[in-house]
Each structure stands twice: as structure tokens, then as C-alpha cells.
């Protein structure tokens, strides 16, 4: 099959790249290797939460923070992508979210500070409407509401931590639990079951009235696990807020992440509805290179190999070992050029002793040129028409700085821009 630009990946990076191509009048094909970890852990779009891996003071303005990060560290993936790519990519994404029917808030000029499921304030840049009322820069008292028999969100744990780090001077936090009709304790139910059920108005009103009974006071906001609708999120959230009579905000919690599902399912579908072709569940496992250009990549489809010929390629894997990246015992191999991206004498070298510190393995990826082309051991691009975005760029690790979304946007947008010019 022949295409203009082939985008490989199943995360935000790939979505942004495909959308950027589409908006520029190109005909991308999105090759979706399978569900990425996005579905488990995505909620907000974090651009830069902390200036470095150890600071505890949140970044107030992500754009300024990224600018000074670029100045400090010219090898950082943000520096490779450039601030304009972050700005333009963010504008593109916000437009796209609106067009796809989402209500999101935020800009690169500020970070929200939202409580997590363990009650820790966390800086986030772009957030769905349904989370915004949790902003801890506002002083209003908070009631965190869990469900009886629901293990995946502990309002008690979140309350105890949050009241220490944020409470005081009128900023109170307390925990309640309500019984969800039809989801009695002792019965198995997941976030997805509840999210789907809460799309039903009758049930929703019943839950709202049970919350009201436990929250007689005025002027509080209600934090809940992110289960307010599986697909029709904005509607469920807004209606529920009216029904409860207080501002309500969602808190992302244990997988499956309903917020991640909502976001990625809809964006993907929107791309398809607007004419972008998709190839599903097909990991790429080879690239054919001639005269310094990639002529073809080969996908492993069910029972056969499928060649994809494109003028340019964007490799937009979400994480270091997302998709087809193979981590052997000693070497991490890339699936396209079969380069050894990292070698370790012993597997423990790939990790830090602490699971809470940056992990060496997360930084594994292609060394890239100024145009995000993967470069080989000789320092020259492996193929002039291939551009790398997302987690497969060497040195890319969004975890500690809380920069996953911003890095995805900036590198995805930049790689798409380069692919257009290639």
C-alpha cells in the first residue's frame, strides 16, 4: 500500500502527528500497533510540572519552564523539538479537542494544581473540564467521595494526605463514601462499569442525592474517581454537577483509566471520521532503506507481512519500549533499522535501585538529528525521510518532570512538520 506519510504509534504523539499532517492537507496513514499504556495511565496533558527530577516546587508557567529547560539543556527532547513546536502543537490539539466535542481548559501559560488519588497536589497544564474544579490554587473546601465496595479510589487515603499538604486556613478536606445502587459491595465492578452506568440519568440522580445527604454544607466541591461517563463525559459531568448542587471534579485513579479511554477513543475515531486511514494492531518490524531513504516499512499483520510504502515516516512510539521495540536480555533493538539502541552487561543496569527515581531504561531511544531523524553509529541519518517522535527519542523521560503530554505534542508536531518537508 502506498501513502503520503505513515505515522506509527498509538499514543498522543502519533495522534498529534497524524492530525498535524491532516490539517496541512496531507494524507497520513496511522499505523496503530495496539493499545498503548495511555489507556492505563493518561488523564491530563502535562507539559512541565517540575523543572528537574528532584525539585518539589511546581512549575508555574510551563512555557517559561520549557524555555529555560531548553536553554539549560540543548540535548533535551524539548530542545530538539523546539518551543514553537510545543506552542503550535498545543494550539492544534486544543482546536482539535474542541472540534471533537471535548471541553478542556488550560494554556501553556499556567499549571493547574490538582489532587491525585493519593492526595498529592500535582501540576498539570491542559485538563478536561471535569477535573478543573479540583484546582488547589483555589481555597474552597473539598469533600472526596468514594463508593462503598470500590477498591480503586480511596477517599480516606487521599483526604489524609491532602489535608496535610494543602489543608488549613479554611481549606478543609473530608472523605465520604456512598453506596452505588446496583453496585453493592461484594460484587465485582470496575471504573468502566460505573462510568457506563452513570450515563443513565436515573441512577445518576440517585447517586447525586446520596451525596447531597452526606454533604449538607454549602461552598464545597466534590472530588470523585474518574467515572463520570464512559464516552459522553462532558454531558455526564455537567449534569451530575447540577444534580449534586456543588462543583464536582474527577480524579484519575487505578487502571483502566476512564479519562484515557475517553480521550484516545474519541480522538482516534475523529481522525477516522475525518478521513485518516488507520491500520490496526500491526507492529512494524522492518524498514527497507536505499540511497539514504526509507522506501518501505513492513508490518506484521495477522498471518502475513504487510508492506507500507510512504514518502515519509513518523515513528511516534509513546514510551521507550512501546510497540515493537524489543528489549532483549542485554540489548534493546529497534524494529526498523535493527540498531542496538542500548546495551547493558547486566539487566539491573537498566534500572535505578529505587523505583521512584528516573530509570536509565526509560531514556533508551534513537539518537536524533536536529530534524528528529534517527542517526546511526556514524552520526548520519539512517534514513532522510524518517522522523522520530515521542518515547523513542534517546533521553526522553517524562516521568519525573511530569512532561508526558507536552513532549508528545512538541515532538509529534515537529516530526510531522519535518515529514511534510521531506
Amino acid at each position: 500500500m502506498k501513502f503520503d506519510v505513515a505515522v506509527v504509534g498509538s499514543g498522543l504523539t502519533a495522534l498529534v502527528a497524524a492530525r498535524a499532517l491532516q490539517k496541512s492537507g496531507r494524507q497520513p496513514v496511522l499505523i496503530w500497533p495496539g493499545l498503548s499504556s495511555l489507556y492505563f495511565v493518561y488523564a491530563t496533558i502535562d507539559v512541565l510540572g517540575y523543572a528537574d527530577a528532584t525539585s518539589t516546587e511546581p512549575v508555574e508557567r510551563p512555557d517559561d519552564g520549557v524555555a529555560s529547560l531548553i536553554a539549560r539543556d540543548p540535548s533535551h527532547p524539548y530542545a530538539r523539538a523546539g518551543l514553537p513546536a510545543l506552542r503550535e502543537g498545543t494550539a492544534l490539539l486544543l482546536d482539535w479537542l474542541r472540534e471533537a466535542g471535548f471541553r478542556w481548559q488550560g494554556s501553556l501559560g499556567e499549571n493547574y494544581l490538582l489532587p491525585t488519588a493519593i492526595g498529592t497536589p500535582k501540576p498539570s497544564c491542559l485538563v478536561p473540564d471535569s477535573m478543573a474544579a479540583g484546582d488547589l490554587r483555589r481555597p474552597d473546601p473539598i469533600v472526596l467521595c468514594g463508593f462503598q465496595g470500590y477498591e480503586d479510589f480511596s477517599p480516606e487515603l487521599a483526604t489524609s494526605n491532602l489535608s496535610r499538604s494543602w489543608g488549613g486556613a479554611g481549606r478543609s478536606v473530608r472523605a465520604i463514601r456512598v453506596l452505588l445502587p446496583g453496585f453493592e459491595p461484594g460484587r465485582l465492578f470496575t471504573s468502566i462499569d460505573v462510568a457506563r452506568a452513570l450515563e443513565d440519568a436515573t441512577l445518576r440522580r440517585e447517586v447525586a442525592s446520596r451525596i447531597q445527604q452526606q454533604v449538607p454544607e454549602d461552598g464545597v466541591r466534590i472530588g470523585m474517581p474518574a467515572v463520570l461517563g464512559l464516552t459522553h463525559d462532558a454531558d455526564v459531568h455537567q449534569r451530575f454537577q447540577d444534580e449534586v448542587g456543588h462543583p464536582v471534579f474527577e480524579i484519575p485513579t487505578l487502571p483502566p483509566s476512564v479519562l484515557g479511554l475517553r480521550l484516545f477513543d474519541r480522538l482516534r475515531k475523529h481522525l477516522q471520521e475525518t478521513g485518516v486511514e488507520m491500520i490496526w494492531a500491526a507492529p512494524a518490524h522492518a524498514a527497507e532503506v536505499a540511497d539514504g531513504r526509507c522506501r518501505r516499512i513492513v508490518l506484521k499483520s495477522a498471518g502475513r507481512e504487510q508492506p507500507i510504502d510512504a514518502r515519509a515516516y513518523v515513528l511516534a512510539l509513546e514510551d521507550a519500549v512501546d510497540g515493537a521495540m524489543r528489549a532483549g536480555v542485554h540489548a534493546v533493538l529497534d524494529p526498523f533499522f535493527h540498531q542496538v539502541l542500548a546495551r547493558s552487561a547486566v539487566p539491573t543496569e537498566r534500572t535505578d535501585e529505587s523505583p521512584f527515581k528516573p530509570q536509565p531504561f526509560a531514556k533508551v531511544g534513537y539518537a536524533v538529528s536536529d530534524r528528529l531523524q534517527p542517526i546511526g553509529n556514524d552520526g548520519r541519518p539512517l534514513a532522510g525521510n524518517v522522523f522520530v517522535a515521542g518515547g523513542s527519542i534517546a533521553g526522553y523521560d517524562p516521568v519525573a518532570q511530569k512532561s508526558r503530554g507536552g513532549l508528545a505534542i512538541a515532538t509529534g508536531y515537529r516530526a510531522a512538520t519535518e515529514a511534510m518537508a521531506a
Binding site: F40, T56, I118, T120, L157, A158, R164, P347, F356, V399
Partner: protein
């Protein structure tokens, strides 16, 4: 004045100490168990869980083999629910192995081990995982899997119901003496630092690899050689039955399908201290290579973690090294040997023979106390009362062993989906003062032992620390982090393949969605943070 009194203090909460505690109480002797970490946190919980038919020892260590035969049969009567009767294969994969076969067959005969040679074709029909290198196969139906955690908890719960007291995280720091008679112990809580004294009539040192340290408090010597063994856990069972290499016991020649996983074992390296148990990459690699000689799928299965345990080999003074030392045990009567009355050590041995070890030492101590009641532990099952193991329902449904209420697990909420642990399985343990960390919950329920290595259940359990234990947020969060950190130590030893993706998801959840790294940075560790003693370094 001592802070409390008991009849006999048992030091050590492994299988031996738990067995001794139960044996004492079954003879009507008041007893208290002291363990400086958690129950089954030392040698027992770090074994590979092979219930030995005796085949492994029948050539070099006939006495140990015979004990295994007898005790294995007894355990099937008294500890039925802790055993999975997998049976076991002994396989030859080389000419050298084949040369060992006649001695193996002879050894089985001498020690009374049921052993049947079956054709390779028949063996492969029964066990398709057997590798192409397999030349000869023996079937030993009495090999199996013994759940070491379940065994210890079962003994302890049985003893508690007979009045025994159990104190975990309680280290013995000294002895009370009157003349040459031990009259009690001084203890220190390893988490709070609280010190107490306990008066008693006798002390039994059942601390295995730590026995020398306890004895030294009385200026007597007990020579125990700590020999490290490294194990690798695979994410599924790989084979239906245990597989041993038919040769002189060596490294990496055991595969044990254990509940939902398989365990590859093991190495034998003398270590300077029972708590210094580094896991070397060469050991891990060797485990997988050797395992692959016996069974297909070992090298392609997902390795989930590696861990190290320590054997407490009793130095009988012979020149034997490591694995060649006897797996036999000895009761040391310090009154007779060292002139210290009221102190007895039980050393050596292995989990399979824990009951016999307990019987022997209890015989001696009971006699000294003037108690003539005979030992009944070979006959009375651990679950000798209806509610006996009611708290110990953690057997995965994969085994087809229904949990006591026998209902459909698929429709029940889970705390740990990997190991099918439900809220009602963990909740009673939060009421048990012996349980102090989430690792302790894991040892009692298997929560956190599956492929995600506590990524999910750690959060749910932390929530329960608030509601069921009334902990404050920071302490519960710290407990969650400690749990993840302890699991991580084993995970990073086998960090390749899908382990990396799992780690990405875990980091995305805890560090990105929860912002746990900042929570830990912001919250100074509270004093006396629970950290399991004897945990793998």
C-alpha cells in the same frame, strides 16, 4: 520484674519455629513465639517450595532422603491444603546424567521413594514441556509443591488457638539468667525500639541461619553455615509437575510449578552473613540456562523477579562444602553440651522436615519440663477445627481449589487480580497485631506476587491501612512505597522483555498519575518506618 511470662519462648518464626510452637501447645505447654521480622520472612518464605520426595538427596544424603519420604507422607495427612500434589520428573539430559541413573535408582530403593522409570515418549505425552534434550525420565509421584507461607501461618494459627502468643518484629537482645539457667529473654521491637523482658522456663532457638547469633548472646557457639540460594520466578507454571535434573545435585536443576507461577532453583554459595544475599546476574542467567535444558519455555517465559534465600546448614565439623553438607538437622542440648540449662537449639534441616525437627526438639524440652504428653503433630491435621484455616484462603482458582465458601471468584471484587485475592482475604490480617507491613499481608495472602508486582494492589492496600488500621496518610503512603520498593528489588534482577513495559505502566500510574515521587519527597519519613527485617538487600 519481667513484663510478661510464658512457659517456653520459641525464637524464630520460620517453619521450624512455627512447628515447635504448635507442638508445644499441643502438649499443653504455654508458649510464645518471637520473630525479629515477619513470620516466614527468613529462610522458609524464600525457599523454592519443593516438597521433597527425597529423590534429590537419595544418593548423597540417605538419612535426609528417608526423612523426606516419611515427612512428605505425614504432611499430606496433616497439611493437605498447603500441598499441591504435582508429582515430579527426574530427567537426564546428558551422558553424565545417565551415568548417575543407577545410583539414583538404588538410592530411591534404599530410602523407600516411589520411583518409576517411564519412556521419554510417555513422559512427553504427560508433560509436553520436557525439552528435546531429555534422554531418560523417572516419575516420582511424591514430589510436589509445598506453600511455605501457608504452612507457617497454618501452624501458627493452630498454635494461637491453643493459647500461644506470637510477637513479630521482636528481636531477642539478651537472656535473663539465674546461675547457669536461662530464665527469660530481653527483647526489642525492631520497629518501635520498645524493650521488654519475658520470663520463661525454657528457650528454644529455632532461628536457622541466625542460630549462631542467638547462641552467642549466651556465649555459646552454634556453627551454622549460611548458604545462599537464588531463585527466579516465571510468570506462569511452565510445567505441570516439578522437574529435577537426575544428577548430582547442582545449580539450577529444579523447576517447581508453584500456584500461579514457576520457580527455578537454585544456587549454593556460602555467604558471610545470612542477611547478605546479593543476587548475581550470573546466577540468574545460569538458572534460566539450566532450566532450559530440562523444559521448553523456560527461556521464553516471562521472568518476573529473582530472590535469594539462605539455607541454614549445620556444620557437623566435616569438610563438606555448601551443597555437599548434609541437609540433616540436629538438636543441640546446651544444658548437656555447654552447661546452660533451659536453652536448646534446633539447627539444619529443611522445610520438608520441619515437623520432625519440631518434634525432636520439643521431645527434649518437654521432658526437661516434666511434661510427658506425647507428640501428636504427625496425626492431628493443621485444620483440626472447622474454622481452622478460615483466614488462610488464598489459593488461586487456577488450582481448582475452591476457597472455603466455594463461590465464583470471577464475580467478586479483588484486591489483587493477579493472585485473586479478595477484600475478605486481606481484611482479617489488618486486625492481627503480628502484621505490620504490606509485605506481611503479601506473605499471608499472596497479594502483590503476580505479574504487576503490587502496582495495583499496593494502592488498594494502602487505602485499607487508613480505614482498617487507622494509619495516617503519610504512613500508609510510605507503606505502599515500601511494598513497591521491596518488589522492585526482585523485579530489576530480570529486567528484560515485557518487564520494561510493565515498569512503564507502574511508573506512569504511581509517579505520573499519583505523583508518588513528590509525595515521598515532601513527606519526611516518619520515625520507625516499617521495613521488614531480613528483607532482601
Amino acid at each position: 520484674m519481667p513484663d510478661s511470662r510464658t512457659g517456653v519462648v520459641v525464637i524464630g518464626g520460620g517453619s521450624t519455629g512455627a512447628g515447635v510452637l504448635r507442638d508445644l501447645t499441643m502438649r499443653g505447654i504455654d508458649a510464645m513465639l518471637l520473630e525479629k521480622g515477619d513470620l516466614a520472612s527468613g529462610t522458609t518464605g524464600r525457599s523454592h517450595g519443593l516438597l521433597h520426595s527425597g529423590g534429590r538427596y537419595c544418593v548423597n544424603d540417605l538419612a535426609a532422603a528417608i526423612e523426606c519420604v516419611e515427612e512428605g507422607r505425614i504432611l499430606r495427612r496433616i497439611a493437605r491444603t498447603t500441598i499441591e500434589d504435582t508429582g515430579g520428573y527426574f530427567v537426564s539430559v546428558s551422558e553424565a546424567d545417565e551415568a548417575w541413573e543407577p545410583r539414583f535408582v538404588e538410592g530411591c530403593g534404599k530410602s523407600g521413594i516411589t520411583c518409576e522409570r517411564i519412556s521419554v515418549e510417555e513422559a512427553r505425552r504427560r508433560e509436553p514441556a520436557l525439552s528435546k534434550q531429555v534422554r531418560t525420565v523417572f516419575w516420582l509421584p511424591e514430589d510436589g509443591h509445598l506453600d511455605p507461607f501457608y504452612l507457617v501461618m497454618g501452624n501458627v494459627e493452630s498454635a494461637r488457638r491453643r493459647g500461644a502468643q506470637v510477637r513479630t518484629y521482636t528481636e531477642v537482645t539478651g537472656f535473663l539468667k539465674t546461675g547457669n539457667r536461662v530464665t527469660g529473654v530481653q527483647t526489642r521491637d525492631t520497629m518501635t525500639g520498645e524493650q521488654t523482658t519475658i520470663a520463661c522456663e525454657a528457650v528454644i532457638n529455632a532461628t536457622g541461619a541466625w542460630a549462631g547469633f542467638v547462641a552467642r548472646l549466651l556465649d555459646v557457639e552454634v556453627k551454622v553455615v549460611p548458604v545462599k540460594g537464588v531463585m527466579v520466578v516465571l510468570s506462569h507454571r511452565v510445567a505441570h509437575a516439578t522437574i529435577n535434573r537426575c544428577h548430582k545435585p547442582g545449580d539450577g536443576d529444579i523447576i517447581v510449578p508453584a500456584l500461579s507461577v514457576a520457580i527455578l532453583g537454585t544456587t549454593a554459595v556460602k555467604v558471610p552473613h545470612p542477611e547478605v544475599l546479593p543476587i548475581e546476574w550470573d546466577e540468574v542467567r545460569h538458572m534460566i540456562e539450566e532450566g532450559s535444558l530440562m523444559a521448553d519455555g523456560v527461556s521464553t517465559a516471562r521472568a518476573m523477579r529473582a530472590y535469594a534465600g539462605v539455607r541454614p546448614l549445620y556444620d557437623l565439623g566435616a569438610e563438606a562444602e555448601g551443597r555437599e553438607m548434609s541437609r540433616n538437622f540436629a538438636v543441640i542440648d546446651h544444658e548437656q553440651r555447654d552447661g546452660i540449662a533451659g536453652f536448646t537449639s534446633i539447627v539444619g534441616g529443611k522445610v520438608t522436615t520441619y515437623r520432625l525437627m519440631a518434634e525432636r526438639v520439643t521431645d527434649l524440652v518437654a521432658r526437661r519440663l516434666g511434661v510427658t504428653t506425647a507428640c501428636t503433630t504427625a496425626d492431628v491435621p493443621l485444620n483440626d477445627r472447622d474454622d481452622d484455616l478460615d483466614q488462610l484462603r488464598h489459593r488461586p482458582a487456577q488450582l481448582g481449589v475452591p476457597k472455603p465458601h466455594g463461590d465464583d471468584l470471577s464475580l467478586q471484587p479483588m484486591v489483587c487480580e493477579c493472585e485473586l485475592v479478595r477484600p475478605q482475604d486481606v481484611e482479617p490480617w489488618f486486625q492481627d497485631p503480628a502484621v505490620r507491613t504490606l509485605e506481611d499481608i503479601r506473605r499471608r495472602t499472596r497479594a502483590g506476587m503476580g505479574p504487576c508486582q503490587a502496582a495495583v494492589c499496593s494502592y488498594r492496600l494502602a487505602g485499607r491501612l487508613i480505614t482498617s488500621r487507622s494509619l495516617e496518610g503519610p504512613a500508609a503512603t510510605r507503606a505502599m512505597a515500601d511494598f513497591l520498593e521491596t518488589r522492585w528489588r526482585g523485579v530489576r534482577q530480570v529486567f528484560w522483555g515485557s518487564q520494561l513495559r510493565q515498569a512503564q505502566v507502574t511508573a506512569g500510574l504511581h509517579l505520573e498519575l499519583f505523583n508518588l515521587d513528590r509525595q515521598l519527597m515532601l513527606e519526611k519519613e516518619p520515625a520507625g518506618t516499617p521495613e521488614a527485617v531480613g528483607a532482601q538487600r
